[in-house]
C-alpha cells in the first residue's frame, strides 16, 4: 500500500529539478528584458552617457566655467573642436570649453530627470495606493484633487514661481516634483484596486494589521513592477520639461548649465557656422531621451504582463 521508495525518490528528484528550473517573477522579467536587443543596447548607451556625465569632467582639459579670453571673437577658427587644443567639443561663444560644459549639462539634466522620477515614485505611489486602498469617498476626493491639478497648465505656474521666488535648482526640483507624481498616482491607484481584493490582503486585514502597514508592506511591493516601468518612462519627460524651461533661460543658472540651456545657446550661434555648439549637446540630449524610452519600453514588455 505504501508508495515504493523509488517512486517517492523520483518525485523528490522531480521536485528538486523543478526547483532548479523554477524562475521567480523577477528572473523571468530579466530574461525577457535581455532578449530585447534595442532595450539592452539602450541600457549600455545610458551607462555610457552616465559615465560621461560623471567622469567626463575629469578628462576635460578645462574647467566648465573657465573663460578663455583669448578665444572670444575668434571662435570660428580657434574654438573649433580639436584634440590639440584640448577643446574636444570646441568652445562656446564665451570661450568656455564645451566638452566640460556638455558633461556638466548632461549630469544636471540626468539629475533633474532622476529626482523628478523619484518624487513621482515616492509621492505618487503612496498617494495612489492610499486612495485606492481606502476607496469610497476618500478615493473620490483624493482623485478629484489629482484631476484638478492635472488640468492646470503647470509650466506657466512653474515659470510664475521661478520668477517670484527666484531661479534656483531647488525651485526647479520643487516645480518638477509638484507635477511629476500626478500620473503615477493614477496608475498606482488603478493597480491597487485590483490588488486590494486579493487573499493576502484579506488575511492581513483579518489578522488586524493596521491599514498604513498593509499599504506599505503588502500593496506597495506589489506595485513595484509597474512603478519601475513608468518611472523609467517619466525620466525622459522630466528631462524634456527641464530643458524646456532652461531653453527659455528660466531654468538652471549660469555658470551651471543643462542640456536645454546648451541647446538654446547653440541654436543662437548656429547661423554663424558654429555647428558644434548645437550638435554636441543635441546629440547627448537625443541619445539620452531615446535610450530612456527604449529601456522603458523593454521594461514594460518584461514587467507588465498586460501588454504582452
Amino acid at each position: 500500500m505504501l508508495p515504493n521508495r523509488a517512486a517517492v525518490e523520483g518525485v523528490a528528484d522531480q521536485m528538486a529539478l523543478a526547483e532548479v528550473k523554477g524562475r521567480s517573477l523577477w528572473a523571468d522579467a530579466r530574461i525577457r528584458f535581455f532578449r530585447n536587443r534595442a532595450a539592452v543596447i539602450s541600457l549600455v548607451m545610458l551607462g555610457l552617457v552616465a559615465a560621461f556625465a560623471l567622469f567626463g569632467g575629469m578628462f576635460a582639459q578645462y574647467e566648465p566655467d573657465f573663460v578663455n579670453f583669448s578665444l572670444i571673437g575668434s571662435n570660428a577658427y580657434l574654438g573649433v573642436p580639436s584634440i590639440e587644443t584640448g577643446h574636444y567639443f570646441g568652445t562656446d561663444s564665451n570661450g568656455r570649453d564645451l566638452f566640460a560644459r556638455t558633461a556638466m549639462g548632461t549630469g544636471i539634466s540626468l539629475m533633474v530627470g532622476v529626482v523628478g522620477a523619484l518624487v513621482a515614485v515616492i509621492v505618487g505611489t503612496l498617494y495612489g495606493a492610499t486612495a485606492g486602498y481606502y476607496g469610497g469617498r476618500v478615493d473620490g476626493i483624493m482623485m478629484r484633487i489629482v484631476d484638478v491639478l492635472m488640468s492646470i497648465p503647470f509650466m506657466f505656474v512653474l515659470i510664475l514661481m521661478l520668477v517670484i521666488f527666484g531661479r534656483s535648482i531647488f525651485m526647479l526640483f520643487l516645480g518638477i516634483g509638484l507635477i511629476s507624481w500626478l500620473d503615477m498616482a493614477r496608475i498606482a491607484r488603478g493597480q491597487t484596486l485590483t490588488i486590494k481584493n486579493k487573499e493576502f490582503v484579506e488575511v492581513a486585514v483579518a489578522t488586524g494589521v493596521r491599514p498604513s502597514k498593509i499599504i506599505l508592506r503588502h500593496i506597495v511591493p506589489n506595485l513595484l513592477g509597474i512603478v519601475i516601468v513608468y518611472a523609467t518612462l517619466l525620466v525622459p519627460n522630466m528631462i524634456i520639461f527641464e530643458s524646456f524651461i532652461s531653453f527659455l533661460g528660466l531654468g538652471v543658472q549660469e555658470p551651471a548649465t543643462s542640456l536645454g540651456a546648451l541647446i538654446n545657446e547653440g541654436s543662437r550661434t548656429m547661423q554663424f557656422g558654429y555647428m558644434w555648439q548645437i550638435s554636441f549637446p543635441l546629440f547627448f540630449f537625443v541619445l539620452t531621451i531615446f535610450a530612456f524610452f527604449f529601456v522603458g519600453d523593454g521594461l514594460r514588455d518584461a514587467l507588465d504582463p498586460k501588454d504582452r
Binding site: 497648465p153 506657466f156 521661478l162 527659455l248 528660466l250 536645454g260 541654436s267 543635441l282 540630449f285 524610452f293
Partner: protein, 307 residues
C-alpha cells in the same frame, strides 16, 4: 447628458477659481514688490504708486477686487511695467497670433496623426506601417525646442526657402515652421495611439462580423472601427492641448511670432506680475474649457459611459 454636463461644469468652475486664487497668492507672497528696483524710490512716491495699483489695501480686499474683476469683466488689471497698457491689451495683441498657429498645429497634428495611425494599422507590417512607426519613434525625441532650431537651420539657413521668423499678419510662409515645430511630437503620439487602438479594434468580434457579412473594407473601417478607435485619441487631446499651448512659448520666443508666449517670457524677465498672472489664468481657463469639451465629446461618443 445634461446632468453630466452640469456636474462636469460644477468641477470646472472651482478649478478655475483655485487657479486664479493660487496665482494671486503666489504673486502676493513674492518677496519685494513689483516696484522695487535697484534705484529705490522715495517712500512717498512708492506709497503713491502702490495706492494707484491698489497694493496698499489689505490682502483680502486685493484678492476680492482681483478675482471679481477677472470673473465679472475679464479685467486682469493694469500692467505693472508699461503704464500705457493693461494686461487685456497685451492679450488682445498676442492671443490672436497664438490662436492662429495653435489652431493650425492642432489640425495638422490630429489629421496627419490619425490618418498615419489608421494607415499603419490597416497595412500592418508593410512599409507604410514601418514608416509610420519609425516617424513616431523619431518624433518622440524631437520636442518643439529641438525641432525649431533644426527647421530654422534647414529651411532658412541652408535652403533659404522660408523666413526665419516674424509674423507679417500671418502669411503662410511665416506660419509653416511654427506649425511644424509645434505639431510634430504630438502628431507622432497621436499616430502611435491611433495605430495601437485601431489594431485592437480590428481584432474584435464585431469587426469580424462586419467583414463576414461581406461589407467592403472601407465601410467597415469608417462605419464600425473608427468610433471606438478614436476614443483613446480623444482622451489624449487634453494633454496634447496643454503641451501645445505651453510649446507656443518656445515658438514665440524662437520665431519671434509675437504671440502671448513672447509677452509671457518678457514679463517673466521684467517681473511684470500682472501680465504673467493674466496669461497664466487665460491659459488655464482655455485648458479647463478644452478638457470640458473633450470630456463631453467622449461621453457623447462612447456608448459605454453612463451619466
Amino acid at each position: 447628458m445634461l446632468s453630466f454636463v452640469v456636474r462636469r461644469l460644477a468641477v470646472a468652475i472651482p478649478t478655475l477659481l483655485i487657479l486664479v486664487i493660487l496665482s494671486f497668492i503666489l504673486m502676493y507672497a513674492a518677496p519685494g514688490g513689483p516696484f522695487n528696483s535697484e534705484r529705490p524710490l522715495p517712500p512717498e512716491v512708492l506709497a503713491n504708486i502702490e495706492a494707484k495699483y491698489g497694493l496698499d489695501q489689505p490682502f483680502w480686499k486685493q484678492i476680492v477686487n482681483y478675482v471679481s474683476g477677472v470673473v465679472t469683466s475679464f479685467d486682469f488689471g493694469p500692467s505693472f511695467q508699461y503704464k500705457d497698457r493693461s494686461v487685456n491689451d497685451v492679450i488682445a495683441q498676442g492671443f490672436p497670433v497664438t490662436l492662429t498657429y495653435g489652431f493650425w498645429s492642432f489640425v495638422v497634428a490630429v489629421t496627419i496623426g490619425v490618418s498615419l495611425g489608421v494607415a499603419a494599422a490597416i497595412k500592418q507590417n508593410t512599409w507604410i506601417d514601418y514608416f509610420a512607426v519609425g516617424i513616431s519613434i523619431g518624433a518622440q525625441v524631437l520636442p518643439n525646442f529641438v525641432m525649431a532650431p533644426i527647421l530654422l537651420l534647414v529651411f532658412t539657413l541652408w535652403l533659404g526657402w522660408l523666413p526665419g521668423g516674424g509674423w507679417s499678419g500671418g502669411q503662410w510662409q511665416f506660419l509653416i515652421m511654427p506649425v511644424i515645430a509645434l505639431s510634430t511630437s504630438y502628431m507622432a503620439s497621436i499616430a502611435r495611439i491611433t495605430r495601437s487602438s485601431m489594431l485592437e479594434v480590428l481584432n474584435t468580434n464585431f469587426i469580424r462580423t462586419a467583414q463576414a457579412k461581406g461589407l467592403p473594407m472601407r465601410r467597415v473601417i469608417w462605419r464600425h472601427a473608427m468610433k471606438p478607435t478614436i476614443l483613446p485619441v480623444l482622451s489624449y487631446l487634453g494633454p496634447a492641448f496643454v503641451g501645445m499651448i505651453t510649446g507656443s512659448v518656445i515658438i514665440d520666443v524662437f520665431f519671434s511670432t509675437g504671440g502671448i508666449g513672447q509677452f509671457f517670457v518678457n514679463s517673466a524677465f521684467n517681473r511684470d506680475y500682472s501680465v504673467i498672472m493674466g496669461i497664466t489664468i487665460l491659459v488655464g481657463t482655455l485648458t479647463i474649457l478644452f478638457n470640458l469639451v473633450v470630456d463631453i465629446l467622449y461621453a457623447w461618443i462612447d456608448p459605454k459611459i453612463r451619466y
